[in-house]
Amino acid sequence: MSEYNQSVVMICDDANKADVNAYFDGLGLGPATLSIELRGAGDSVWWGSHAWWYPAALPQLELVPDALDVITSVRPDAQAQQHWNDVLQALGLSVPHSGL
């Protein structure tokens, strides 16, 4: 049985979000893969996602067209939020603060 033990973080800029989500929807992964709104330098808008993949599915990431400019990070058996925070820190991105 395949284990969902590969922590996968994906990031793209706002201009590519619709195309990236359409691409993954076409793979049968659903309509809104990148759904976490992010902020970068100059208040630029970016989008991110976190998911658990099984190892045999990882080659799909290598097939994502370069034109979509998807930044991908994979860590086996990672702690999801630690992985996510590390990627955001490395890219200089943050999640806009939200209150109740």
């Binding site: 049968g28 659903g30 809104a32 893969t33 658990w52 999801a80 939200s98 109740l100």
Partner: protein, 412 residues
Amino acid sequence: MMIRPVYTSLVQGIRRALVEQVKGFDPISLFGAGEQGAWYDPSDMTTLYQNIGTSTGPSQPVTATGQPVGLALDLSRGLARGSETVTNGDFSAGGASWTQLSATLTVVNGVGRHAGLAVNGANQNLITLDTTKLYELVFEVVENTDSVSTTVSIREAATTTQRTATEVTAGQTGTFRSIFRPTANASRVHIRSAATSTGYVAFDNISVREIQGNHAEQLTAGSRPTFRDVGGLRYLEFDGLDDFLVTAAIDFTATDKVSVFAGMRKNSDATVAMLAELSVNANTNNGSWFMAAPITAGLGGSLFQSRGTAVQSAGGGTTFVAPASAALTGLSDISAPMVGHRRNGESVGVNTLSQGTGTYGTYQMFIGRRGGTTLAFTGNLYGLLIRGSLTSQDDIVATERFMATKSGVVIP
């Protein structure tokens, strides 16, 4: 905000009931009068699926810890099935209601033999569905002489758009099931062979029936919570990033009262998080509510909020600090104003200020993330029950104990 320290009659009754044993309690009894609502119980793995059926495959049940959950069935209606939508799915009337599309259908010994004749042949049966509801396709393959796969799907009546394409491989027999949401009311059961088909597949008891209830789904693979079975507890783990489930719109307009029970564990207080919310934002939508934990980044707490036309809430505090498990309860009455919040069998606030007017509305319910976009919950959900009614004192106690047990919490 006025907080009444003791909501006297309610609390006294609950304390009396606390000393009684809760025997033989089944939460489904809370829906015995047809109350609107939902009940999700991850400890019952038969209610969990990794996905609903799509154009690329059928629904897959959750069978092991670590698998994603794309569908949690609502138990509040006892998983009752609706009426049969397929006419002559058992071929008792021969080939009636079946249309041959470049394939043959021969009824032999009461079963339908589908033969594709090597031309991508198909047979179809027109049915009427409701795109707001969830259905289960079930069929039996009793004989299979074909050397290639045959696909059974639900298609739109007038297009090739399909859902829940279920593949029957060469020579395979048995009972096949898939849960799906149709893309059109006018639909059809569609049986299609490959162009290289060489034999026939004999079908029987082809059925498409609604699974009644307000089921929670996640169509996007990366946003599905994870099923865990750890230390005797089964739960949905939300990653605090993009995991959530959502229902179709639920009609609560017949009531201005609600009871919400959750068995949960907060794994982090780093960011404000939404455990469950009726509508995309209960701050602004009339006739809605939410249960949140934590309520202030870094400080913990939990809160239940309701809105008729004005927002009122109960709860708060900083004593409920992650990581921590709890049975949480939210109670609300719009017309006789009251919002109450309880944690592990004890009241943590009652607010009797006016919520304005009206009933609860017809909205989607989000679990684990506000509107599917913000305030992602970091933690575990062991159970969630929403009931469009206030709940008796005895039943509050019984339900809280039920949720506590599922969550590994001991209520004194």
